[in-house]
């Protein structure tokens, strides 16, 4: 089994190749997910389009107090970036928690998002930070919140002729705290049984001014836990209220049985780890 490998040097060339080969084309950046699916025999495209030589898809830039991360930036580049660390140390830790160094050296942020595996680490953190995906096609460019990218297991709203070009992170309000926690009962490089990302900002009176919570491995897509957010926003975040808010995560998630636990166990772990994430943010101090 073979395929023709194309390495365009501009976005326009890549879009031309997608238009030319249609359903017989498959995009790759680091090709970590593609290689597994190809070796398993589940993907048999006639044409593979590699994006790594397109300079405009790389690089990390600051935009005001926000951040733009190119689609072909690897997890390792993001993990080691001073700009990412300045923007949000929890985002650095999230990238550092992905699989192993070998995988992080190869896998890219754009590829991670396009692959849409619900157990990946970065998406929940991106959702909690309010990040947007930028996607380009021959008809122009569109931006959408990361939580609106995913529709199902390994499925996104991206059209066949669209390419993710970057991820944009908004400026965070001063005093915003962030964390990413993952429950790994087996090995450190495993996919999480559940993972939780959260951002929190307290008002001067100590109530919750803003909060965003998102979970990985808790359903067919990364999930924003709006029930938890609504239960906490405007409230005084004492232990009881945080516990009550974390319990509402049950409404937001849709876990399934697999080798990392039963659906019922994951529901319980989602509540526990949501409470731990929120408690750590409340207790941290600004």
């Amino acid at each position: 089994m073979t395929y023709d490998y194309h390495e365009p040097e501009t976005l326009a060339e890549a879009l031309d190749l997608l238009a030319k080969y249609g359903e017989d084309a498959h995009l790759v950046a680091g090709a970590t997910a593609f290689t597994l699916l190809w070796r398993q025999g589940l993907l048999r495209p006639g044409h593979v389009v590699g994006l790594r030589r397109i300079a405009s898809l790389g690089g990390i830039t600051t935009a005001g107090a926000g951040l733009a991360v190119g689609a072909t930036v690897t997890h390792r580049e993001a993990e080691r970036s001073a700009d990412v660390r300045r923007y949000c140390p929890a985002l650095t830790r999230t990238f550092a928690s992905v699989a192993t160094v070998r995988v992080r050296n190869q896998a890219t942020l754009g590829g991670n998002l396009a692959h849409a595996d619900p157990a990946q680490d970065p998406p929940p953190m991106l959702i909690a930070l309010g990040a947007e995906v930028v996607a380009a096609s021959k008809t122009g460019e569109r931006r959408l919140p990361v939580e609106e990218l995913f529709t199902d297991f390994f499925t996104t709203t991206l059209g066949r002729e669209e390419i993710i070009t970057s991820v944009r992170f908004p400026a965070l309000a001063p005093g915003t705290r962030a964390t990413y926690v993952k429950f790994l009962p087996q090995t450190a490089d495993d996919y999480a049984t559940v993972s939780v990302a959260a951002t929190l900002r307290l008002a001067t009176d100590g109530t919750v001014a803003d909060v965003r919570v998102a979970l990985g491995a808790a359903g067919p897509t990364p999930i924003r836990a709006r029930s938890v957010e609504n239960a906490l926003r405007g409230a005084w975040p004492d232990a009881a209220r945080v516990g009550e808010a974390a319990a509402t995560v049950d409404v937001d998630i849709a876990p399934f049985d697999d080798v990392r636990g039963s659906a019922a166990y994951k529901r319980e772990m989602a509540r526990v780890w949501t409470a731990r994430a929120l408690t750590s943010l409340v207790e941290r101090g600004a």
Binding site: L37, G41, L42, L43, F153, F154, P220, F256, D257, D258
Partner: protein
Amino acid sequence: MKLSHTALVRAPRARVWKLITDLPTAARCVPGVAAVTPSPGGGYKGSLLVQLGPVRLVLDGDVALTATDETAGKATVRADAKDSRLGGTVRATMDLALIDKGADTELRITSDVQIAGRIGEFGQPVIQRKADQLMSQFAECLARTLA
């Protein structure tokens, strides 16, 4: 893998029975099914396109009604299909039961699905969810067809 699905079809039992035991017509309600044509053995040949994320399965095979009991409202459908490009087979036995609910009919489908080869790499949660989606779209379509 055992799967079970229940749907309420807003039509009387006799009409639902007529539709689901007419396989070529009922198959039009399964999303992704291409032409269903009679085969010499008494069943039908058909093709089902299933998209699982980046993976497209084209399942070509045979489908037949292997048992019917109109009085009890029960029928059994057997399907054998393979994807020759990716490699893998799907064998399904679906027991259909129609339960009279006045003006409506409850359709219960209990399936025993055996998946072999590369298709099985996806794992049960993904396959179960896809089956759930197909079944709920099938039931909605039956209801629309009989409306």
